[in-house]
């Protein structure tokens, strides 16, 4: 993860570096986490930073500043984070001595990001840390606040000189990490981008979509482009259809107000699932250079067949969960959740049929679904291949006139990261009988080493200035362009003929309309 072989240019200058695996070591830096008292910081960001520290992937000189409105001292923040680490990062070995050394670089600043004086305090603090911790003035600002504060923060940082444009390779550098959602729709996304680009160049902006940091998601590129056997089959001639499922048993938890604004379409489909569509659908990049990869992702997303408002109902299904049972527990419906409107029409489930109108994917449907409070927590991509052309085995017991099942390649993203391929084999015995088997690869089985968390990978990449796994502005834009008409159609429908929500019980696989959507193309959702 952290090493690369010295390039030819470097070796020409210094021959002793030939063949050497050189740590991609980050420059010294200070990271400011805005919204440090929130869930993301304690559950994901601090554990990721600490894991990087344990692996010696942080530079020798660094500092981390937590910033939020809650009054707290440095020590209280350190204790709070230490406790959170023990609670939420069970895969990371906690040793008090190591934590104490790490925690010396942790600071806290109570601040209201809308107040210039408070941001001036931040600027002063960063100056002090530059001296004390040798951070060289390189600053990363991690926006982990409510999205509505993003513009205020960017402008505020600029007002005290902390946000400024830098050329590539210029030092000291400021960088900004923006958590999704990147805007609320196309218009707000463009407005946010405009503000950010007023003070940062695009190479300084890291739009984080943690799905891209997952090991299996990165493995899609390797599976497709490092193996010779898949790519020749990876097209409309051999692939029947693609199913992408993101199912969660969890409800909205304590994120009711956020979810009321977002809904499943904005929360999952516009970003995470579109990323998966682009990775499955993209053409091979000309190199592994960040821009070459991102160019291809954008290109395929531009080929998504647009949905005008009139056709939305034929291609997109929405749903909202009602009360039901999850793993034997009675759970409330969405409208009964904390801080959710009892008449809410916000969707907690989306299923859609997409088409990528290009040479490779002509007429291959991509069925994408995402929902909360479904029967099982699972995220996977299933590539269903076309069945064998001649039904040689149609008379065998159990085959029937429909013929054989098709081969399916499944890329499992969570919970058990891995890949499996379903194929037919003869059942041992005197009688010809066909059995379908899965050939499985599981990360946890094949490699005895711990996979880094998505946030570890992404934060480390940002420290190194590598944007490959972050969303570029045009990618965000093209995704919003696709979902905007869906939101507009639903908005109109809410006023004229509101949906009959809830339309699926918690613990089920979503509304009946979802099954009907895929059945209209003569397919069925995989039984997961």
């Amino acid at each position: 993860m952290s090493q690369s072989v010295a390039t030819q240019d470097v070796v020409k200058e210094n021959p002793l570096l030939e063949g050497m695996q050189i740590d991609r070591r980050a420059d010294p830096f200070a990271m400011v986490i805005l919204g440090a008292h929130g869930d993301l910081t304690k559950r994901k960001l601090l554990p990721a930073l600490y894991a990087l520290y344990l692996q010696d992937l942080l530079p020798k000189d660094f500092a981390i500043v937590g910033l939020s409105r809650t009054p707290m001292t440095d020590d209280a923040f350190r204790d709070f984070m230490g406790e959170s680490l023990k609670k939420y990062a069970s895969d990371i070995k906690f040793e008090q001595d190591t934590w104490d050394r790490f925690a010396k670089a942790l600071y806290y600043l109570p601040a209201d990001v809308s107040k210039k004086d408070d941001l001036q305090n931040l600027s002063n603090k960063l100056d002090q840390l530059k001296e004390k911790h040798g951070t060289l003035g390189n600053n990363i600002f991690y926006l982990s606040t409510a999205p509505s504060l993003y513009m205020t923060i960017v402008k505020g940082l600029a007002s005290v000189g902390l946000a400024k444009k830098a050329r590539p390779n210029q030092t000291p550098w400021p960088r900004i990490i923006v958590e999704k959602p990147f805007g609320h729709d196309l218009k707000s996304s463009e407005a946010l981008d405009e503000t950010i680009h007023e003070y940062f160049n695009e190479h300084q902006v890291y739009r984080i979509d943690h799905y891209l940091g997952k090991e299996t998601v990165q493995n899609i590129m390797v599976l497709r482009f490092a193996n010779g056997i898949f790519e020749p089959l990876w097209n409309h001639k051999y692939i029947d259809h693609v199913q992408i499922t993101n199912a969660e048993t969890l409800g909205v938890e304590d994120r009711g107000p956020y979810y009321e604004e977002a809904g499943a379409l904005r929360d999952m489909v516009q970003n995470h699932l579109m990323q998966l569509v682009s990775l499955v659908g993209m053409e091979p990049p000309i190199s592994m250079d960040a821009e070459a990869q991102r160019d291809e992702k954008v290109k395929v997303l531009r080929c998504l067949r647009p949905l005008d408002k009139e056709r939305v109902k034929d291609f997109v299904v929405r749903g909202q969960y009602g009360p039901g049972y999850i793993l034997g527990q009675n759970v409330p419906g969405y409208r009964q959740e904390d801080r959710v409107s009892p008449t809410s029409n916000v969707e907690t489930f989306v299923a859609t049929k997409l088409f990528i109108d290009n040479w490779r994917w002509a007429d291959v449907p991509f069925f994408v679904r995402s929902g909360k409070r479904l029967a099982k927590s699972i995220t996977e991509i299933a590539i269903q291949f076309k069945a064998a052309p001649l039904r040689l085995f149609k008379d065998l017991p159990g085959i029937g006139s429909e013929g054989l099942n098709p081969n399916t390649l499944v890329i499992q993203i969570q919970p058990d990261e891995g890949i499996s391929l379903k194929f037919a084999t003869k059942q041992p015995g005197q009688v010809n009988q066909i059995r379908w088997l899965n050939m499985d690869f599981k990360y946890g089985t094949a490699f005895g080493v711990r996979s880094p968390s998505a946030y570890e990978r992404l934060i480390h990449d940002c420290m190194l200035g590598d944007p490959s796994l972050f969303s570029r502005t045009d990618q965000v834009e093209v995704c919003w362009k696709f979902v905007d008409p869906i939101m507009a159609a639903w908005g109109e429908e809410n006023n004229s003929k509101p949906p009959k929500f809830p339309n699926y019980a918690a613990g089920s696989w979503g509304p009946d309309a979802s099954d009907e959507l895929i059945a209209s193309s003569n397919f069925a959702w995989r039984r997961l």
Partner: protein, 423 residues
């Protein structure tokens, strides 16, 4: 005299529980695969309180040893290695005794839990084949058919001396060979033999193998951090010195550790300087230095190189074991006189967390560690535990031409030392 092979009647050696627990169960030498299959089949069917078992294998690893007592330590090492690199591990023991020639085999599963919640066990298998008073043609005829097809084969040669002749029966099958010069006191014989293997096998493999054959010395891996610290000392992104100083190098001093019980001056440089010689071989071959003179005396080796008319002196100096482990590097001092006088000192003492690199300019360059440092940095020292070194080798397969160049240079130095009559 014909070789005795152990044969037994069914059932397969030991119980399934014994097999899964990692205890070696003796099996019929002619039916190793069959008995393994039977054990796995019964393990897969075991349920009702016993954790379910998944087999994993991404490579073959043969560990070759001639030491009868190596079995336990090798088993422990394999256990550790298989946790990170699921493989079929074959411990090939070639021993000598006063008895009749014999061949015996044992099998055991090496399992670890994937997580405490699911209680699922991931298992690999270890096969031990012991050939007593048999030659390697016989031993390899049992060992090589056990290699799982289409998976890379790594062979770890854990015997001294390194012998091309003994290796021959295995060589055509191996993708990557791992040796360790720290175990061999006859430096010239070791590196010459290594070079023979690399040169000979390079020709064979270019015709027969898809994966290029490669060979690596664990001592080369041990020196990674030292080589990195030297290389990066001349890299302005990491240090205050530019690569321009490389052309001005006029002196190199490398200290190596003497054995614990021989610090009174009894130890010879032979064998103990293998790691240091690889570093000298690496620097000299990379920077295009030509060897001029070589002399050795007890614990010191003095070499003289020429580079575009400039003379470079290189010394290898033994230091007591409290400054460096036996045969390990204790420090590297490099002096350069162009564009200005500088010196670089990379040091590591026992108990230090890494290699500290300090550079001095101008007058301070001569005083080395006494003056004010102009630049300092700390490089993490790679773990040197044997299983971790093997881990690295299994992680980064591939031909290392730089290593081969270093070996060629080391052989050249050793030959000159021999011909100077003082080796």
């Amino acid at each position: 005299m014909s070789t005795q092979t152990t044969t037994r009647e069914q059932p397969a050696g030991g119980s399934t529980e014994q097999f899964l627990s990692g205890k070696l169960a003796q099996v019929d030498i002619k039916k190793i695969e069959k008995e393994l299959k039977e054990l796995w089949r019964s393990a897969a069917q075991t349920d009702g309180g016993v954790a379910s078992v998944t087999r994993a294998c991404v490579m073959n690893l043969i560990l070759y040893s001639e030491d009868q007592d190596t079995e336990q330590s090798a088993s422990d090492l394999l256990d550790d290695i298989m946790l990170r690199h699921p493989c079929r591990a074959i411990l090939a023991l070639s021993t000598k005794s006063s008895g009749n020639p014999s061949l015996e085999a044992w099998v055991a599963a090496r399992c670890h839990l994937t997580d405490s919640k699911s209680m699922k066990q991931i298992c690999c298998e270890q096969i031990t084949v012991r050939g007593d008073n048999v030659n390697n043609d016989e031993l390899s005829s049992v060992v090589l058919p056990l290699v799982i097809s289409d998976l890379p084969l790594f062979m770890w040669w854990r015997a001294a001396p390194l012998s091309h002749e003994k290796l021959k029966p295995f060589l055509g099958w191996i993708d990557r060979m791992i040796v360790d010069s720290s175990c061999d006191r006859d430096s010239l014989q070791f590196f010459s033999e290594l070079l023979n293997i690399m040169n000979g096998q390079a020709q064979v493999q270019s015709v027969a193998h898809e994966i290029p054959f490669s060979c690596i010395d664990l001592n080369w891996r041990r020196s990674v951090s030292w080589r990195e610290s030297v290389a990066l000392a001349f890299d302005q992104r990491h240090s205050a010195l530019s690569p321009d100083y490389l052309a001005g190098i006029n002196n190199v001093e490398i200290s190596y550790g003497l054995p614990d019980d021989e610090k009174n001056g009894e130890a010879s440089w032979k064998g103990l300087t293998n790691q240091a010689l690889l570093i000298v071989g690496w620097i000299s071959s990379t920077l295009g230095w030509r060897l001029q003179k070589a002399a050795a005396d007890k614990q010191r080796v003095d070499l003289s190189f020429d580079s575009s008319g400039s003379k470079i002196s290189v010394s290898l100096v033994g230091v007591p074991s409290d400054q460096a482990g036996e045969g390990d590097i204790g420090s590297i001092l490099i002096r350069s006189e162009r564009p200005e006088k500088v010196s670089i000192v990379a040091t590591q003492h026992k108990g230090m967390p890494g290699i500290g690199v300090t550079c001095y300019r101008g007058d301070q360059a001569d005083r080395n560690q006494s003056g004010q440092a102009n630049c300092t940095s700390l490089f993490e020292l790679d773990e040197v535990a044997e299983s971790r070194l093997i881990d690295k080798e299994l992680e980064i397969p591939g031909v290392e031409p730089i290593f081969k160049r270093a070996v060629v240079s080391a052989v050249e130095i050793l030959k000159l030392l021999q011909s100077s009559g003082k080796s």
